[in-house]
Subunit: 325 residues, 2 copies
């Protein structure tokens, strides 16, 4: 069994090996730029760890793992255009450093390269892995569209939000695990259990993200606290608050959401946080997060391999949950 | 053997069968919109015709044919954002009717759907067809990038231009034919001959397009004559002129390229066309086009099937060449 560190080491080397020194430069330099900024490489790590539950030979799973990482970075690239984001992992986004057209076209190529890599999956599992990937990729686009739609709606229900983050974030973690399991020789039942493990970890992970934006430690979280509040982003916390606030809280929340003056940023963050605390939506969010986390672990426990083999996945799941506090 | 009309009839029905009545609407409506505006369906027609050279059973080639058509429409969708095009097939482009973000995301889904359809290729040919498609898709993005790069360059060589249109336009015709041939059970030699046939037809087709923009009949061509001239588009005609014009012609051409006043549009078109005629670049372009066309036909003739089976492909190739005059 390989440890988390051994697997991320393998992945770093493999990602470095990908050749982007090709013409036309305008197409490939942005890809090299995006992939050189690291990131946690969670998805390909999950693929190799899942594979490792069933075999010591991780080689056949490496192309698919890389494909999933490149696909994930492609979605970030196109999402950043749509969100007009200026920074990603502390560096200027591609559409900022180059322009929108470059970000569109380099992203398109990344999606194709992802498929090229995934197509290197051994022929026996190729069709399954491909169909799983395509289905997941479409779900991710659907999730992004719901996310965009929610910006213009004031009546988003908590369940709709959970469905959105399932599509936008969680399914890719499930897909990464199931892909590794299938290539490692798992049967369909275990592969599905690992998918469900990833899906629930993904849901918990996103709720954690919503919480960290408000309650995190800025220096560890790596992003400015309150960013979601300032942009009126419909997180689980805000949606639960909009659906629960009555009377004075409701009026105050509406007034705070109307603030767009940058000089009042601190006041807005403090005010909204105070309402979250009064309504107890932080507790509701934590409970929901823990529910998904426990469900995830229960799925992992059912996977039909020796218990000690699951240790690295358990540790990774825990790490994703306790981060940045 | 199916005729051209029978094949386009099959394709129209199959394209209508695709279901875009799905949520979220904001993602799928633009796709349905794009695909409902017709177009010549040249690529999937080539796939089915190539398949038909080797078998009467076209069913296994239909998903890949549809995938190629959807991929082609995806590239038009993203190209239209990059070119800020307002109309496509006489209708508002997606980014005009909706917005850029919609056009980006709906395009991304179309690319995935193209892969989903292509993945339905029978398992025996799946890997070959996938690799051919991915390689082609990347070439098309490279071609688009060169096209963008050329806008900012004043020293584009004719050979660079031909390489750009090979990538941007011609390879997909080759890929469409080879895909159909492989699925129809062709050997690799015949499949490659059909690829080369498509590639050369594609090159001739694009040069024809350049000529029609200047010398076409507006009511038949369906676009305004002189559009390329007004936008200083580096067509084969302009590149050859820039590389050949000397003395007074050179000065006049430079002056004409500087005109951006809409009131002088007619003058600009007339002036540039007169220079093309004086330099004889229309003749040079026609000769080059015919060279590719003859090469294409020579490749088709070598394909190892009964001569009469090739008649529909010969007719289609001719149709693409004599159109709109």
């Amino acid at each position: 069994m390989k440890t988390f560190n051994e697997i991320t080491e393998i992945l770093s080397l493999e990602i470095e090996k990908l050749n982007w020194q090709k013409s036309p430069e305008g197409l490939y330099k942005p890809i090299s730029y995006v992939l050189s900024h690291g990131g946690k490489r969670i998805r390909p790590t999950l693929t190799l760890m899942a594979c490792n539950l069933f075999t010591d030979n991780l080689l056949p799973a490496i192309p698919a793992a890389l494909g999933l990482e490149i696909f994930h970075n492609f979605t970030l690239l196109h999402d950043d255009i749509m969100d007009k984001a200026e920074l990603r992992r502390g560096m200027p986004t591609v559409h900022q450093k180059w322009d929108d057209n470059t970000a569109i076209l380099s992203g398109d190529v990344m999606q194709i390269v992802a498929y090229q890599l995934i197509s290197e999956t051994p022929e026996k599992q190729l069709k399954h892995v491909l169909d799983l990937f395509s289905g997941t990729a479409i779900e991710i686009c659907e999730g992004q569209q719901y996310d965009v739609d929610f910006e213009h709606r004031n009546n988003v229900e908590a369940d709709e939000y959970l469905e959105m983050i399932r599509l936008k974030t969680a399914v890719l973690l499930g897909c990464a695990l199931k892909t590794g399991a299938l290539i490692g020789g798992s049967d369909f039942e275990d592969a599905q259990l690992l998918y469900d493990f990833g899906l629930n970890i993904g849901l918990a992970f996103q709720l954690k993200d919503d919480l960290l934006d408000v309650y995190g430690n800025e220096s560890i979280f790596g992003k400015k606290i309150g960013g979601d509040i300032l942009s009126n982003k419909k997180t689980y916390l805000l949606i639960q608050s909009l659906n629960r606030a009555v009377g004075a809280d409701r009026m105050e929340l509406a007034a705070l959401l109307n603030i767009s003056d940058e000089n009042l940023a601190e006041e807005k963050i403090k005010g909204v946080t105070a309402i979250y605390n009064r309504l107890g939506v932080n507790k509701i969010c934590e409970d929901k997060m823990n529910e998904f986390y426990c469900k995830a672990i229960a799925k992992l426990e059912k996977v039909g391999v020796q218990d000690n083999k699951k240790q690295e996945l358990r540790k990774l799941a825990e790490k994703l949950m306790v981060r940045n506090e």
